[in-house]
Amino acid sequence: MLRKLTRRLRALLQKDLMERELDEEVRFHLEKEIEQNLQHGMSAEEARYAALRSFGGVAQIKERCRDRRGVRAIEEIGQDLRYAARMLIKQKGLTAVAVIALALGIGANTAIFSIVNAVLLRQLPFAEPERILTLWENNVKDGIERDDVSPANFLDWRERSTLFEEMAFANPHSLDYLGDEPETWQAALVSDGFFRIFGVNALVGRTFLPEEYRAVSDRVVILSYGLWQRRFGADPKIIGQKLVLDSEPMTVVGVMPPEFKLNLFDQEKDLWAPQVFGEDLRRQRRATYLKVLARLKPGVTTERAQAEMNSIAAQLSQEYPQTNSGVGIMTVPLTEQMVGRARPALWVLSAAVGFVLLIACANIASLLLARGREREREFAIRAAIGAGRGRLIRQLLTESLLLAVAGCAGGLLLATWGIDLIIALSPGNIPRLDQVGLDRTTLAFSFATAMLTAVIFGLIPALQFSKPDLHNCLKESGQTTTGSSARHRLRSALVVAEIALALVLLVGAGLLLRSFDRLLRINPGFAMDKVVSLQVFIWDRYNTPAQRAAYAQQVLEKLEAVPGVQAVGITTALPLLESGTDTSYPFTVEGRPAAPPGGEPTIFSTIATDGYFAATGVPLLRGRLFNQFDTTAAPGVTLINDTLARRHFSDEDPVGRKITVRFTGRGQPSPTTLEIIGVVGDVRHDGLDKEPRPEFFRPYTQSPSGSIIFVVRTSADPLTLVPTLKARIWEVNPTQPFYSIATLDSLISDSLKARRFSLILLGSFAVLALALAMVGIYGVMSFTTAQRTHEIGIRMALGAQAGSVLKLVVGQGMKLTLIGVAVGLLASLALTRLMKSLLFGVSATDPLTFVMIALLLAGVSLVACYLPARRAMKVDPMVALRYE
């Protein structure tokens, strides 16, 4: 065994020596034979010839001996590699083009895959993440699939369910930090067991102790990694320090690791604090604002848990018909909740880059087929000496592999840049994007893709050239006009495929573009430009309604006095701004039969001043706005929006009618009757692509809320005025932190960011695909016209007009294009339905888009065919005739 290995190593490393030995052995034998022949009386020459003849073909024998050495395979691979490298270096142009195309294709695929891997494929960084579920209230009747949970419901769910190891909630909250640089931090108040659900320990310090969930004094907090880095310089001595939050000192007991990001809320949380359960909280069954998570017991499936929760929901809806009728429970695995939204877009992008790579492969295969003509002779000779077909195929595939490896290297480089670019462009709500990078899985994928592409684009030429037409090629003149008809058909087929693929991509991008355009045209219901909002919470500083009303009045007066300000108003809910105060309440219209309990329609409540409507440009459709007579002493009034008016007062004038709203929740008044004084225009509150919701407004003077958003319309760029506005607000209360400051059109553009991102990416890939496909068709057309130069010369010499030659050549190319377009259209019809969830206002088979794209492609293709045709026309017939 060892000897075998040594012999093989010898055969590899001491090849020269072994060759010489073989030589010597054979020579010795020959000489002996010659001697014998001489003894038998032959002449010297005869003796030699006889010996050689009886020996047989010396070269072949040596070859067979070499075969026996057992290292043939390795030697041949080495040979192939060296030869392939030499060939590629000789054909610099071809190699360069191929490597660039491959680098682009493989790079794009690697970049997208690394994102798909980090976002969708990799497991969440928690213990056994498949056992973590999120639970939601859902109300099919109201069309709410996943709603937050109310505290009383949560308690009942936790008590009655048997299949969960832990169930806990996170309650969004904001805490004002009043140290140097006051800031408002996003926090989550969590219940006992929250951290245990994830199985994640604190990076520094610890998580909460059971008694800390009950303590009312000695409050504690845990910081997020981001906050710890940003504000406290990642100093481990933060543990044990006290921070003053919401005017209360709280001790920092731990810091969570950086991967502890949940993407459950619109903003990542900076802090966690234990939720202390008061009695009023336990009774809250209607107000829904908790995010509930749970961990399944080992061996329990999601289906079983869902079934159990369904029965619990049924029990609760019977026990509490007023609040829980029709309320079900929806379990969603955490992974799905966190990344499910990103899934459709990412898969579409993966398919897109896959197409781009296929087109690149088709191009390279086409190139190899074209250039291979020059090498036909070489392969013919090798076949003649005895190279088997397998050997020739192996040789060609080795060249393809080398190209692919070079392309892979280039692709990885491009991918690192590409990933950085994509992250920079990303809309910020793609979860886990910070974990994207070139890890082992991505590298393996990249390499595998390279190998696969080598086979794809290498196999076609390899199969073609490994059976060379020996007779034709070895002749002196090497005519190949007819011999390549099969090859020509192959190249044509490749071009058709490329065009079809490019068409599908372009259609996809076109549909996204139209969706985006549709979205932009939607009237959001308010004037977008030159409006800025500043959000503050004043509950803690101003305890009574009178104090709050006074504060608001002071600030409004100061703001109105700022030069450049056209209108100022207050609201508690701004469109597209997550303000944490969006609640809906059941109501009845006075004079109409009461609906069964629990079955009343609900409407969204906003509190505003009359200046709000002026500042946002929401039109008054009928009746009047609030005025100075709508005080707390006067009867309650309300403005309703158009949707509410149309839904519930479709055939009568709502002005003057009264509605009774049943407010619930902490600090809310009991059922209140309000007179409708007017109807205002709709505002698309949840986003341009969602329907407006039925809303009613109450005047701020009648219910001064502590959650205030000042809305300011300016005549110039609002951002220049922001420092002045802040200064004025601080004049009334110097320690007022701002929760958020945003211009309305930045809010809109933020809401469009995700779509714009998909559009940019898909659009780029589609354009790339188009470019590659056009290069492909240009290449083929150039090649065929060069081939037919001879024929063209004859035609022109016989009197054909330049125009008809042009038509001939271009006609050929356009025929291919049309076939490609037809195939592409069929494929698009089948495939675009897969991206339906990404579209808005446009059907997946929108005829306009399809037709426009087809025309675009045909047009570009026409140019790509025309250019080489024009060159062909300019050929001097005499030159063409002599061309062979």
Partner: protein, 110 residues
């Protein structure tokens, strides 16, 4: 008398080579000559098959090679049997005898 070069199957060539090497080490030429002599010229080994066979047997470690000096002091490659080769020779000889006995039985039956 016309000498016919009987085609030899690969396995039988191996067996002949092994048998020939049962005595002293020999080089390729010797082996060919010896086979010719012992079979009274009926079996003439095709040199084209002999050397590949020798290299194959060497690869299988049934014979071992060594360079030495020939009769007229020229360098030649001498082959000899290994222990494994000796064992293979014994088994293959038995196989061959069984085979020929069986053939004889069938051919004699009429």
């Amino acid at each position: 008398m016309k000498k016919q070069k009987t085609d030899l199957l690969q396995g039988t060539l191996d067996l002949l080579v092994l048998k020939t090497l049962q005595g002293s080490p020999k080089h390729g030429w010797d082996i060919a000559q010896r086979i010719k002599q012992l079979s009274e010229d009926i079996l003439q080994v095709n040199q084209g098959s002999l050397y590949p066979a020798l290299h194959r047997l060497e690869e299988q470690e049934l014979i071992a090679a060594e360079w030495g000096a020939s009769e007229n002091n020229r360098r030649a490659k001498y082959y000899k049997l290994t222990a494994a080769g000796r064992k293979r020779l014994a088994t293959d000889t038995r196989e061959w005898e069984r085979f020929t006995w069986a053939m004889a039985q069938i051919l004699q039956a009429s």
